[in-house]
Amino acid sequence: MSNLRQAKMECESGREPMLLGVKASGAVKGRLLLMTLEQRYRNASSNNAEITYTFPLPYGPNGGAVLMDVEVDIHGKVLKGEVSPKNTARAKYEEAISEGNTSILLERNYDGSFTLELGNLMAGEECKIMIRYAQTLSPEHGQIRMMLPTTIAPRYGNPITQGRLQPHQVPVTDSLAEYPFDITVALLDDMAYSNVSSPSHKTSYSRVGNDLFIKLAQRGYLDRDFILIFSNLKSESAALASRDFYQNGQHAMMASFCPQFDVTGNKGLNAKILVDCSSSMAGDSIDAARRALAGFIQGLTKEDKISLSKFGDSVEHRSRGMWSGTAQAKASAMRWVEGVHANMGGTEMAAALVSTIAIADTGKADIFLVTDGEIEGIDEVIEVAMNAKHRIFVVAIGSSPAEGHLRRLAAETGGYCDFVAPGETVEPAILRMFGRMRAPRVRNLRVKWPNSLKTRWEQKVQAYAFEGDVLHVHAFVDTPEDMKELTSVKLWGQVDDSDNDVLLGVAPLSLTDSSTNVLARMAANAKYAEMYRKGDKQKSGVQMSERIDLAITYRLITEETNFILVHERSDTDKATVMPDAHKVPQMLAGGWGGTGSVVRSAAMPVLRSLRTGSDDVPFGVPSLASASVLPVGHAAASVWRTNRTKAAARVDALSASGMDDFDIPAFLRKQSDFDDLVEPSVNTRNSIDKSNPLYWKASNPSVAKQPVGQQGASYVGITPAGLEKWLSVNHSSLWPSTYADLRDLGLGLSICEWLEFEIGRERNEQLVVATFLSAVREFRFKSDSNSTRPVPAVKGAMSIVKVEKPETELESEIRLAMVGVGQQTWPVAVVNFPEECC
């Protein structure tokens, strides 16, 4: 596949897999999830093996997984390791391997994935590795989306130069790989009574006492995210405090706010729509993308402004500026959505963003991005977006979207990222997005802790907040003397341009305890992350050792610390040679790139388009069910699109270069003056000379390179003179009768859409087309001047103009719009439809 640009291990398939499967078991209490993943390995080869497995975890920092523990079960013995600085851990691992011992190293990679290295698993040996993590669940608009990723989908780009991975960490995909996956989740206390469902897997529910247990009701594999949706939750703020077991006299705090404020704003949107049409989106994802776009467009009002763009290797903009959300523009946009396919090649997101940002706007614009996010170079993209001060709102789709990348992209630009899995309805996510995009912007967020608390460290609050989306803030405080004095934690901020402080949330405090010190470790993780981000820019040695000490004290696997375990083997048991390398390949994400569909009912499209490159309209090739080659002018079989019936006829009529033969006796070809007197034959379909700029405006590559947003029509297609000429040399029975026919004839997209959505609103299509053509026929250009001149009426074929008949409303509307038409130029307002017309 063209977007898999990474090293592939040879001959993995055909050998027995080293990873036997993954079993997950989790418990949800309040807003905290504790999950254990049990990975089972077996060395099925005849030599000692070094197994590497790169796997994803829910993304951090706020709302992502915080690794708590790693345990290794080998030979029935359960071993615990330790957290060490990366260099030390790596050295220990290498030494252990070269001495013939077994060693396990778990490392956090640059992109947030994790790589496990299991060195010197002997032939036939088995090993179980238990990885435990904690995660705060964040309600969004009354709903929690709990997600466990199980595979890493192929990404576009270079994993080493752009993804900043080391070669052994780079995930590889094998479409034949298959690993079983099983999961059980226990919901405790009040969570056991929430509404819960899974859009990704068939699940079964059983109640044991007060608790609810969720199990898989189907065989699962490591090929898609496992998703649980908890809905109908109350939007409330709450704060937890708990003793820190690793530090005397210290308590850890976590305040979770659900901001609410009175200021309502239903401001108009300024949304630049950008949809990913790379090949990884083929299948389920592009279907979901179209539904998301359709939902978005339908929700627009007249006060909203949008632009439409799609990208792959390059970016294509439908509009040069922003359209208002009028009925006509929406109809045109819906038409554009139908043409969105996963056929644009790779995923050059940064370049597409640059170009989309350049679309002229009034100043404050947002980008509405629909994608699966499977790229390596996300840093570049984030930088571009932040510099442009555009907020990015992402709808992430697919069975395994790049969660970390997309959440970061949204968060760092002040936007938001919402997810839609295959089989989920898209509308709720779109509605939430609208809410956020229209909402007042909240800034200068500040947390006010109870007066009696002395904070030792508090997390810097995120820069932006949205109503209904929970945000978390961690802190370390002196152990309070009087617990009863603790009341609540408050969140203050400013809204839009006002400098008034507004109270956004009040979180009542409650005490909690944990034998594994979970809350304190999560707070330490947040503190580490902050220190790391700051330190990255300063690179001070003192700060680094402070950070690392923190990570080691709280046993956190971070960007600078690894988990290491060495298992000394008895002398007779040690390996004598270096182990063979085995990289565990990823399963292909279900529905990725069109490989099968995640939802059983979604059928794969049967009719694929063949892009011809000569015009915008795809060439639909009939499947077996239809008749084969159709004769000229024959009625279209249902599987053909009507606009292509005539095209088939044109295929016969047109020669390769576009020059056409006129089936007219030589003596009549002398002067153009006489062309009008020729009575076109019913059976002959004639064409115009497309190489003549009077009749046809070809696409101009230098114009296409102009920055988007510049004025100036870049019309491509048949000119007024050309259309008039065509009508004069063809019998009226061959004239186009539908908008699609007109398009097929080469009439520019904007003219056709102007006819269809502006003139044609609540009018009969054929009447509109016929009236338009008769108006064109009236142009009567002289071939060497721009003015029109009277010409003797042509007998018979043209049944339109009878000067004495009073003009209908339709006729006058068209005629008025055509004022100012030139031989080679359509009226500006029509060419710019729907930007200026409405």
């Binding site: 090293a7 290498e94 056929n343 077996l624």
Partner: protein, 146 residues
């Protein structure tokens, strides 16, 4: 000094090449760099190995895939038959769906076909398929067949 007698341990080679030890070991495990002399702690690498490592490093930082690097280094046939494409080039192909289970992949630029030719080709393929199917039906339906 390019002295073939000089032997380096794995850690020394890392320092010389300025690469993490794991990456070096990865190259050796995957055949990008020849195996050392000796095993485990006694493994020694010479000038030849250093040369290979530096070449691999140069190519991967230029964006060449490891698969391709391996082929370049050893002049061996990669498992996939070599194509006349530059490493890192992108192609967009069209898929002509002829029937269930029958598809043609067309990259018109490489095939050097104009859009009109592609259309003609598509029509021809469809017609060919119809005629083969029609003949098959005829044969099946003819009386006296087994």
């Amino acid at each position: 000094m390019p002295d073939s007698q000089v032997q380096h341990t794995l850690s020394e080679l890392c320092v010389l090449a300025d690469l993490p030890v794991r990456t070096l070991r990865y190259y050796v495990q995957n055949g990008l760099v020849d195996r050392p002399e000796g095993e485990t702690r006694a493994a020694r690498y010479g000038a030849k190995h250093l040369e290979q490592v530096l070449l691999v490093k140069k190519w991967t930082s230029a964006g060449v895939s490891l698969e391709r690097v391996k082929a370049l280094l050893h002049g061996e046939e990669p498992a996939v038959p070599p194509r006349a494409k530059k490493p890192g080039s992108i192609e967009v192909c069209s898929h002509l769906h002829v029937a269930d289970g029958l598809e043609m992949v067309i990259e018109p630029t490489r095939a050097q076909m104009t859009p009109e030719q592609v259309r003609a080709f598509a029509k021809g393929v469809m017609a060919l398929y119809e005629s083969i199917k029609a003949n098959a039906d005829q044969d099946a339906g003819a009386p006296g067949n087994e």
